[in-house]
């Protein structure tokens, strides 16, 4: 992994203003705190976490759909977060995004063919005839019959609509696709179809993915490396097998233990369980998990937020000062 990262986040922070007296967070809310990672060509980098952990905000920051409060975003070595939009627009075809809700990310009044055609027309990729041929090619690439280009989005099932969104993202020949919970809204049988499709496309087109999800199995299936987020921070990051087989952070362990597994032999297994809920505020300066962690010590009150390598694996990092002892 010595090559230049395709996407890189350096110390990203995003703070939102939250108004209203009854708000849980009085004035501002830090959605993302000091997030740094790099995604290398051809890999799939996964981000997992529960709702509100900031994973979708990270995606939006990397796509330059929002401006970070501080920190930097790089695309193939070029800074993208602080350049004028006109300049960024030239780069946009090369990083594309697929959203969770395929129903609301397709204009209901346009035919599917036109939806896929639109980005190519905007960026002037070829003549009308070439673009038409490309639309049909893209539809068959994602496993839909080319005749379907004349239909409207509502005529498709959720899984088919997600295929259309993927075709749309592919239309500009991107280098990297950010997938924000692309399968969470789908039934399991359809989920497997889309996961397989994403994997095939990656091989065929040499794509890089940033895959965001809360379904641990799905993220593990596609990703080579995974970051776990909690309350806006990356708490653990590493190769996906290392991370899932030997989690070093208590939160990762609890997340893995909480996921129901379709294996009767594992029923009633011992698990690390967290008390309370995500919105439980840790004391000032303490580890974000302090209020819920079963392994907390005095030292956890002085949280440094530094990622340190887990023994024996330089690529496996965790913010927990205690090496996993379970």
């Amino acid at each position: 992994m010595s090559s230049m990262p395709v996407l890189e986040a350096k110390g990203l922070c995003k703070t939102y203003k939250v108004s209203g007296e009854n708000s849980l967070f009085a004035k501002t809310f830090s959605a993302v705190k000091d997030v740094s990672f790099a995604v290398y060509p051809g890999e799939t980098f996964g981000i997992v976490g529960e709702s509100g952990c900031g994973k979708s905000t990270v995606a939006r920051l990397l796509m330059c759909l929002e401006k970070p409060t501080s920190g930097e975003v790089y695309f193939q070595g070029q800074r993208t977060d602080n350049v004028p939009e006109a300049q960024r627009r030239k780069l946009r075809p090369r990083f594309q995004m697929v959203f969770q809700d395929s129903g609301s990310s397709l204009n209901p009044r346009k035919r599917v063919g036109d939806l896929i055609r639109e980005p190519m027309q905007y960026h002037g990729l070829g003549s009308a005839k070439e673009i038409d041929a490309r639309v049909e090619e893209l539809l068959s690439l994602v496993g839909l019959p080319a005749e379907m280009k004349n239909r409207y989005p509502h005529e498709f099932s959720g899984g088919q609509r997600q295929r259309i969104c993927i075709a749309k993202a592919l239309s500009l020949n991107p280098d990297v696709i950010v997938l924000d919970e692309p399968v969470s809204a789908l039934d399991v049988s359809v989920q497997a179809q889309i996961l397989n499709l994403l994997r095939d496309l990656q091989e065929k087109l040499n794509l890089t993915y940033l895959f965001i999800g809360h379904g641990l199995g799905a993220v593990h299936y596609l990703s080579s490396r995974i970051a776990v987020m909690y309350r806006g921070r990356i708490v653990e990051m590493g190769g996906s097998d290392a991370l899932f087989d030997h989690p070093a952070h208590p939160y990762t362990r609890a997340l893995l233990d909480a996921a129901p597994v379709a294996d009767y032999a594992l029923r009633g297994r011992n698990r690390v369980s967290l008390s309370g809920e995500v919105d439980e505020e840790p004391p000032d300066g303490a580890c974000p998990l302090y209020a819920r962690c079963p392994y907390r010590t005095e030292e956890c009150l002085r949280f440094k937020g530094e990622m340190t390598a887990v023994t024996g694996d330089e690529t496996h990092l965790s913010v927990c000062h205690r090496a996993w002892e379970g």
């Binding site: 399991v188 179809q193 199995g217 799905a218 379709a262």
Partner: protein, 326 residues
């Protein structure tokens, strides 16, 4: 011993203009006293409709066109509205997936908690209040006294689901129907709620009919399982048999479509081709046949009857008798 709840050949149709569209056909299963039975299936399989029909909660377009629902030997379908009212909330309680809309937003938690006890059990306001506080504590709410005075919008999703469970338990029902109670919650909270339901069953001996789309939850919770597909119950067995020796091609496919946490990533997920049929009234024979990996080779595809393939193990598919796995 006769079952606590026994559903026999249930048929439900929905009025669609002048036509009746069948949603559930020929569903039969039993829930014994103190048993946790899960009804598992993808969206549109008819599992929620089946659950709603037990308490007469179907939308106006829904019509039960055949079969019976026996609760302690009484057919709930032949009861007058007043008689059903005496059972609803008292003998059979229900909790729902939609935690946002299942509590009344303009009443405090306390007034919603005490309503059932005052009505069904004739408690005084003070008795009901004291019992409510006890129940809220039991469901894991630490500050139960102040929770009683809160409005639903002031609580998190996990808290609301606990309040719903506490309300459901308030009249000590013999059967709790839980319709996807954790689908809207994060996994660590889901894990807490499942733990709670399991321990409440041990403590009170109430039976639970748990509806879910997640085969992992089946593996964690169920004593017995009924698998639904396209409005039919396709397989029924005790949890261990179903998970370790599934007989129906759909059950097998469903289990193989879920990516595990420690799977070998090189293995491709088994994706069921096509999607769940939305209209299945006209289908004859096996309704899974168009998507089944055995497809045309299946000698029973025109049959689709439920048959007992081993004691206590019913299935509409007998592919396993022929031997080889999917």
């Amino acid at each position: 011993m006769p079952a606590l709840l026994s559903i026999r050949d249930l048929e439900i149709s929905f009025r669609n203009g002048k036509r009746l569209t069948p949603a559930v056909s020929g569903v039969s299963f039993d829930v014994g006293a103190g048993e946790i039975v899960t009804l598992v299936g993808e969206s549109g399989s008819g599992k929620s409709v089946t659950a709603l029909s037990i308490l007469g909660l179907l939308a106006r377009q829904g019509k039960i066109t055949g079969g019976e629902i026996l609760f302690e030997g009484k057919n709930l379908l032949s009861l007058s509205p007043a008689e059903l009212d005496a059972i609803r909330g008292r003998e059979i309680a229900m909790i729902f997936q939609d935690i946002m809309y299942s509590l009344n937003p303009v009443l405090t938690v306390g007034s919603q908690m005490t309503e059932g006890m005052r009505r069904h059990l004739g408690y005084t306001k003070e008795q009901a209040w004291a019992e409510s506080v006890r129940l809220l504590r039991r469901t894991g709410i630490r500050d139960a006294e102040s929770m009683m005075k809160k409005y639903p919008h002031m609580c998190s999703g996990g808290m609301r689901q606990r309040v719903m469970i506490a309300i459901a338990l308030s009249c000590k029902p013999k059967l709790l129907i839980a319709d996807e109670p954790t689908t809207a919650l994060d996994v660590t909270i889901q894990c807490q709620i499942m733990e709670l339901l399991r321990s409440l069953r041990e403590e009170t001996g109430m039976a639970v009919l748990l509806i879910t789309h997640d085969i992992g939850i089946v593996a964690e919770m169920a004593d017995r399982v009924a698998v639904m597909y396209a409005g039919q119950c396709v397989e029924e067995a005790d949890a261990e048999t179903l998970l370790t020796r599934p007989a129906h091609a759909y059950t097998r496919a469903l289990m193989q479509a879920v990516p595990g946490l420690h799977d070998d990533k090189a293995r491709r997920l088994y994706a069921i081709p096509g999607f769940v049929p939305q209209v299945y009234g006209d289908m004859t024979g096996c309704r899974f046949a168009p998507r089944c990996p055995h497809g045309r080779e299946c000698p029973w595809k025109d049959d689709g009857r439920m048959a007992e393939i081993a004691p206590g193990h019913l299935s509409r598919c007998r592919w396993e008798e022929g031997g080889e796995a999917v």
